[in-house]
């Protein structure tokens, strides 16, 4: 019944019965609208965490982790905390994108301020060894992004043509009555802007114990929450007045095509869980060694996809009903195992730290679809396997404490490899970091961390390398953490 009503709406005043079969075919195509591997990478790739001290040291923190942020870096490190601790912080992230599109360069930016973390750590009194529990809220990854582009595409393709397998061009009177061909043949000015926002948050219970002298073992269990919004406005304009005739044959009001507009609004409600196991060994006063095993994170995505579109002609315009093309689906994304190891040396007030993180992005996986076909999910999982690769991320950092002033100075560097198999090195995310720490009255610590990142990326408006933006991205993150130990 619903489908019959939908068909009636689509038929409108200009469709005859012989095309009903075609409409059924088109509707069946619409039913397989779905996500792709970019969505899996969005939640699967590492973030920058939420601890200012760690960030200042290039997030090379697996072998240190001696505060509430151990729940994120290395749960075993929590066993090193001896005092009751409240930890909280603020995160300010700024994302700048310099996008080049058919020779035109445009800058855009997005920013986001949020609570980075709040935690309470409770060491159980012991006669020997250590047993510590912690509760924490960590905003582990921001999902901000932006892209703006504007340029004349001189080739004979366009988004309108790429959407001929949907009803949108037909409903906008951009095709013939069969909906299978259009007079639009590229050579349009294409422009648009994308604004992304959101974050992934973890509510974590952590426990750590000194299982053997100087050997700490810890585990954490996290409930994931979060949200993500992507707002994409896209325009194609006939700036060179190429299409002055009738666009939809038989409908004079469609004379002189001017503009096509499409809005895609993607809203995610993110839930899920993950677990992490950590080990940390302290070599007396000289060094610490840390290992972590991140079990696959399960993200349960509840997705709303809203589409709006419009076409403008010299003396007329029309738009589509957004509810016709909008839908809600659900699916899970499972991330790979991550294995990390790190070492830190302590030399007369200097701490030098380094770590590596191994992640195999080919193991990213979609599952449990609702509102999506199993075959489409399977196809996306195959694409992930063929396009992604394994990366070895690495981090370095140092910290120097000036005991007389209770001041700490930090610096670091980290690199997160691009998950795409064919990407050159400049697509890897690189960050230099710095930070400061102060201690007041021996109980109140303030830490500031800053990271500057840069990398390249590309984006396709349709097809592969047909309408592509070449992006130079730089990124700033400021973290402020305050610690009260008593």
């Amino acid at each position: 019944m619903k489908m019959a009503i939908e068909i009636q709406e689509i038929i409108g005043d200009k469709m005859n019965s012989k095309n009903i079969i075609l409409i059924f075919l088109i509707l069946s195509i619409n039913n397989i609208y779905s996500q792709n591997y970019n969505d899996a990478i969005r939640v699967g790739a590492s973030g920058l965490g939420m601890n200012a001290r760690a960030l200042g040291m290039g997030n090379s923190y697996i072998s240190l982790s001696d505060d509430g942020s151990a729940s994120y870096f290395n749960p075993a490190g929590l066993g090193l905390v001896k005092r009751l601790e409240f930890l909280g912080g603020l995160d300010i992230s700024v994302y700048n994108n310099n996008s080049t599109f058919f020779g035109n360069k445009i800058s855009s930016n997005a920013s986001q301020t949020r609570l980075s973390n709040a935690s309470f750590t409770f060491p159980i009194p012991t006669i020997q060894g250590s047993l510590v529990f912690g509760l924490s809220y960590n905003s582990t990854k921001d999902l901000i992004g932006s892209n703006q582009f504007n340029g004349f595409n001189p080739f004979n393709h366009s988004k309108i043509q790429s959407l001929l397998n949907t009803n949108i061009p037909y409903d906008l009177y951009l095709t013939n009555d069969n909906g299978d061909s259009t007079i639009i043949n590229g050579r349009l000015n294409q422009s648009g802007n994308i604004l992304n926002s959101g974050a992934i948050n973890n509510w974590t219970l952590t426990g750590a114990i000194e299982a053997y002298k100087n050997l700490f073992i810890g585990g954490s269990l996290s409930i994931i929450s979060g949200s993500y919004t992507s707002d994409f406005d896209y325009y194609e304009e006939d700036t060179k007045n190429i299409y002055q005739g009738i666009t939809a044959p038989g409908y004079p009001k469609t004379t002189d095509f001017r503009l096509f507009y499409l809005k895609n609004l993607l809203n995610w409600d993110i839930e899920g869980w993950n677990a992490k196991l950590g080990f940390l060994y302290q070599f007396s006063k000289s060094a610490r060694l840390g290992f972590t095993l991140q079990f696959p994170k399960i993200f349960k995505i509840k997705e709303k996809f809203i589409v709006e579109a419009e076409s403008e002609f010299a003396n007329w315009s029309t738009s589509i009903k957004s509810e016709k093309y909008s839908d809600e689906v659900k699916y899970d994304i499972k991330t790979p195992f991550e294995v990390s190891g790190g070492l830190s040396f302590n030399l007369k007030g200097f701490i030098f730290s380094g770590q590596v993180n191994l992640i195999n992005y080919t193991e990213l996986e979609f599952s449990n679809p609702e509102g999506l076909s199993a075959s489409y999910i399977s196809e996306q999982n195959k694409k992930i396997k063929s396009l992604m690769r394994q990366t070895l991320d690495y981090n370095f950092g140092f910290e120097y404490t000036i005991p007389k002033f209770g001041l700490r100075v930090r610096g670091g560097y980290l690199q997160q490899g691009s998950p795409f198999k064919d990407d050159p090195a400049d697509f890897n995310k690189k960050f230099i970091t710095t930070g400061l720490g102060f201690l007041v009255d021996g109980v109140f610590g303030v830490d500031l961390g800053y990271a500057y990142g840069w990398w390249k990326d590309i984006g396709d408006n349709y097809g592969t390398n047909l309408s592509r933006t070449f992006q130079d991205i730089n990124y700033h993150k400021f973290l402020i953490s305050t610690t009260y130990r008593f």
Partner: protein, 161 residues
């Protein structure tokens, strides 16, 4: 996973290193200094990381097994209170002096937190015999398909470049 299993077996055979303090036991007053943050190079940060909170803020626990001593202590205190009627007292100030305070045993450096605590916990309570008294007094003093795939993200296909 084999390594995890091996570690679990080794630890299982040796028993766990950590011994939890139980309320029936005497509160530990010594602790192992974390030498990673040596006081000479980390100053106050050394204490920040090393000193257990139960050393700084001893726990106030009522021990039923020590109720007789507790009763005596209460009587003693009541007696003191009754005598505090605004007249001159004969209480010896020296009994509360720092000299009578026994600092906790610790491997911490001489300049570290114990010295600090001695100054703060100057009620002299730790010189008393029972652990319970020590605790009480200390605590008082410290307190869409193609559409979705054409969303400006990557569309690598098999021939992305």
């Amino acid at each position: 996973m084999k390594y995890l299993l091996a570690i679990a077996i080794i630890l299982g055979l040796n028993g766990c290193y950590t011994v939890i303090w139980l309320p029936e036991e005497k509160l530990p007053q010594s602790y192992q200094q974390n030498e990673f943050y040596n006081y000479d190079y980390y100053g106050d940060y050394s204490e920040f990381y090393s000193t257990p909170w139960w050393i700084i803020n001893p726990i106030n626990i009522y021990h039923p097994s020590q109720s007789i001593n507790h009763q005596k202590e209460r009587e003693k205190k009541s007696s003191n209170l009754r005598n505090e009627v605004g007249e001159r007292l004969t209480t010896d100030r020296e009994s509360y002096s720092r000299e009578n305070y026994t600092p906790p045993i610790s491997t911490i450096n001489s300049t570290s937190v114990n010295a600090k605590n001695n100054t703060n916990n100057n009620s002299g309570s730790r010189s008393t015999s029972t652990n319970e008294e020590s605790s009480r007094n200390n605590s008082n003093s410290d307190n869409s398909g193609s559409l979705r795939n054409e969303n400006g993200n990557r569309n690598s296909g098999n021939n992305r470049r």
